[in-house]
Amino acid sequence: MEFKQFIFYFFAAVLVFAATMVITVKNPVKAALFLVLAFFNAAGLWLLLQAEFLAIVLVLVYVGAVMVLFLFVVMMLDINIARLREGFTRYLPLGGAVAVLLAAEMALVLGSGRFGLERVPEPAGLAADASNTRALGRLLYTTYAYPFELAALVLLVAIIAAIVLTLRRRKDTKYQDPGRQVRVERSERVRLVKMPAEKKS
């Protein structure tokens, strides 16, 4: 076995193991950490395919930002595991049917004879100085400029919607206005009171 193949099978095995643990492990925090492990191994597989931009962005976006926020939320939840497992037997037939359906669909697509080296030739390896960051940038900002801008707009709308939906000012909460705090002057805070000295009666 070639060394590259060994690396592929190693990453793939850890990926499958981590993905299985995500859905079987009881503790949600552990599940989230296994998902991080799965992302890392997927990034490793992409690196093997010479897609370094996708691999690094996967780590940057999903591991560095999304999963941090996810952990942030999951850690603060007080999840009752017993109650979560309650409906397991009740939903088993339905869930099992969906799983079998998915597996059958996948088998149909993959077994249809449209894949494999005899149908699709192996792509030529990239040149040593090829940068797929540059190639992706070229495509996104020239050929696909309008779809790209459209996607950016959709994301912007989503951000604004999320802010608007959660922004509510409760009247009884006290807020600080940093501008006013900075501008504050001595005369607003300290009042000197003149009074005559007390005399012993």
Binding site: V29, L33, V36, E52, F53, I56, V57, V59, L60, V63, G64, A65, V68, L69, L71, F72, M75, M76, S131, T133, Q176, P178
Partner: protein, 356 residues
């Protein structure tokens, strides 16, 4: 002796020669780094001591020079206590998660024009991805300790790092636009030609944002609410002792050095000399000293590290809402505006050359 060594070396298979060379390169970076971390702690105690008009450590060895070694020995010999009901595996692995990213990032740092471990095209992305991983050590430590204080520290740290990561990323986007490359070596080479060509001046707002966000990202004072000893004892590492605590300590200082090196590489011209090449005299020793070289990088990094210590001795700790306000409402708009300025100047006005 030399012949024997050469003979053994040539007798090794090619793949193991490559592996051994890589290992040697890694050791050549990691060992000086650990030493630098140890003496950075000493420098911190001495410098803050002098700022506060006291002497600082001066008992162990001549003028206290052996103090870091004594500290390390003490921490190694202390017992590692695992709290009851803590998640043992995560509790032990958390310090490693904090320390490893701080070391891995050195793989893409160019020390001089020809000295590096790897020279990958997506170096800047690699750095960004790794700098966002350090937070896992803190979060996992806070959760696995099964302690309220540690948990509060982890929560604070997570929110803070997510906030400053964005401003940091945008500052790097500005550097990327100016240099037109993600390769750190090419970013430095774009700053050739003396002090006025460095990105320090054209990208001054981004430099300030990046460095301050770097201070926040390493959980250093005045952004050290994750430890905040007056409020939550010691934050995320309150349950850690001995070597596990020492690893968090090492990670913090290694991260400081890393942020300083990255700031030097991206804004202060890396290994380049501040003198324009035509001013450097053709004298044997002086010419090499005044021209570019790794000594300039070390000098710049030392200066930035001194700033880290100076900040700690000067500023009181930020209040939590002020940290969030600075990150979200000040830094992110500043970087966004400056990215717009760079893009506009490059494509719409004849002054684009200022940024390139």
């Amino acid at each position: 002796m030399t012949e024997f060594l050469l003979g053994t070396w040539n007798g090794l298979p090619a793949w193991s020669q490559g592996a051994l060379l890589d290992l040697a390169k890694i050791l050549a970076i990691v060992l000086p780094l650990i030493l630098a971390v140890a003496y950075l702690t000493f420098a911190e105690r001495k410098i803050i001591g002098y700022i506060q008009v006291r002497i600082g450590p001066n008992r162990v060895g001549p003028r206290g020079w052996l103090q870091p070694l004594a500290d390390a020995l003490k921490l190694i010999l202390k017992e590692i206590i695992v709290p009851a009901n803590a998640n043992k595996f995560l509790f032990v692995i958390a310090p490693l998660l904090a320390f490893a990213p701080a070391l891995v990032a050195w793989a893409v740092i160019p020390f001089t024009d020809t000295m590096w471990v790897t020279n990958i095209d997506a170096g800047l992305l690699f750095i960004l991805a790794l700098s966002s991983l350090g937070v896992y050590g803190v979060i996992v430590a806070g959760w696995a300790s099964n302690s309220k204080y540690a948990f509060l520290g982890a929560m604070r740290s997570a929110a803070q790092i997510v906030a400053y990561e964005i401003a940091m990323g945008f500052a790097l986007v500005g550097v990327l636009m100016a240099a037109g490359s993600l390769n750190l070596r090419e970013i430095v080479l774009h700053q050739q030609g003396g002090l006025h060509q460095w990105y320090l001046l054209p990208l001054l707002p981004l430099f300030l944002v990046y460095f301050i966000a770097g201070v926040a990202e390493t959980n250093r004072a005045p952004f050290d609410v994750a430890e905040g000893e007056s409020e939550i004892v010691a934050g995320f590492h309150v349950e850690y002792s001995g070597m596990t605590f020492a690893l968090f300590f090492l990670a913090e200082y290694a991260n400081m050095i890393l942020i300083s090196v990255l700031t030097a590489v991206m804004f202060l011209g890396g290994w380049l000399s501040p003198l324009p090449p035509q001013w450097v005299p053709e004298v044997p020793l002086l010419g090499a000293l005044l021209g570019g070289g790794v000594h300039w990088l070390l000098l710049k990094v030392s200066l930035l590290l001194f700033c880290f210590l100076w900040f700690r001795a000067t500023f009181p700790r930020y209040r939590y809402d002020q940290i969030m306000r600075l990150g979200w409402k000040v830094f992110i708009p500043v970087t966004l505006v400056w990215i717009g300025v760079i893009g506009g100047a490059t494509f719409l006005t004849p002054w684009g050359g200022v940024f390139h």
